[in-house]
């Protein structure tokens, strides 16, 4: 079963964030809790951890801005 990678809301007033960088390659095998991308919001930069273990399929583009809740990839 695939698990969505969701752009999280980190901070009180965050409505969107910049997907700054993928920390793993498309198709890589990741473990749950491993940092997989870095997220820039108006207040801070955070490394976001993988919600599951499996093979990552990346759909979000590094450098682009996404609304919180946007799906930027999956773990299968």
């Amino acid at each position: 079963m695939a698990t969505d990678i969701i752009l999280p809301k980190i901070g009180f007033s965050m409505t969107e964030g910049v997907l700054a960088e993928w920390l793993v390659a498309d198709g890589a095998t990741v473990t749950e809790g491993q940092p997989i991308f870095s997220l820039e919001s108006d207040k801070s930069t955070n490394e976001v951890e993988s919600p599951a273990a499996g093979v990552i399929k990346i759909t979000g583009v590094a450098g682009d801005t996404y609304e919180v809740g946007a799906i930027i990839g999956t773990i299968e």
Binding site: I5, I6, K9, K43, S44, E49, G69
Partner: protein, 336 residues
Amino acid sequence: MATTSFATGANAAQPDAATQIEIYRRMNLIMQNDEASRKIIRSGRLMMPYYSQRGQEVIPSAISVNLNDDDKICTIYRGIHDMLAKGVPLRALWAEIAGKVTGTCKGKGGPMHITHPASGAILTTGIVGSSMPIANGLAWAAKLDKTRQVTIANFGDGASNIGAFHESLNLASLWKLPVIFVCQNNRFAEHTRYENGTSVDQISKRAAGYGMPGITVDGNDPYEMYAVANEAINRARDGEGPTLIEAMTFRFFGHVFGDDDFYMTKEEKSAAMAADPVPLYRAKLIANGVATEETLAALETDIAAQIADAIEFALASAPPPLEELTRDVYAEQGVA
């Protein structure tokens, strides 16, 4: 520092072995629950403003083991640790956080408004300083009804500069209300350093102005916290009036989760995290022969399973139906 005499050393109340382990259980529950909360926010599965309590586990754990189910607490937006220590059930707590109908307030309150009267957790408020007048009301009711119940009013250091703090201490002292004012001093009022917003070096000194006992304790030391809470609670129960306890602590994850901590130095934050009270107390329990590694590990595994179950329950629950929107807000039709 105490403005009145509190028992110390051999005269201070000591938690027995079972109580020491129970304090640890509550601390570990708060710690693991906080970690699960931050993790689920980072994963995008729940979205909420989150005020981490990591670092402040000792205070409610060592206080609440002195309380009965029908004793009351009031707390603030950084208050899930107070709720858990008082016994708010995990499933209903998580469902409320997730905005589901199975939550403590049918999903209509959210993380800032957790309330669960059955466990004595009466109020979470997002308004700084407003836990205290409400705690006074609960304590006054207990006094009039002669129930011997006590109420704990939790608040932060910044709230002691709010008018409601001064009004509440005055009235509680005048009427000898069974209330304990617990200032969880984590040294920052939102993003303002303590010394930039508060006129005295210790908040406990303010108790003198209202004629009540005041004491500053290490809020990260379970033994000290237990002894002072025990004495203040017994005094309140016996009709001898309120106490102001200033419990010194530190929050590890800023005001609201996502803070970049620009208002504190890296050194003070890393020093506080190096003195993390949860593993320190765990090691002490084992070193003193109070508990074994196996006992504590089993307790931690059990807590992890309970939290995982509660999250699953919350995510699988339904949101409140539309007809819930005005229920509990306006008087029901036909009710006088």
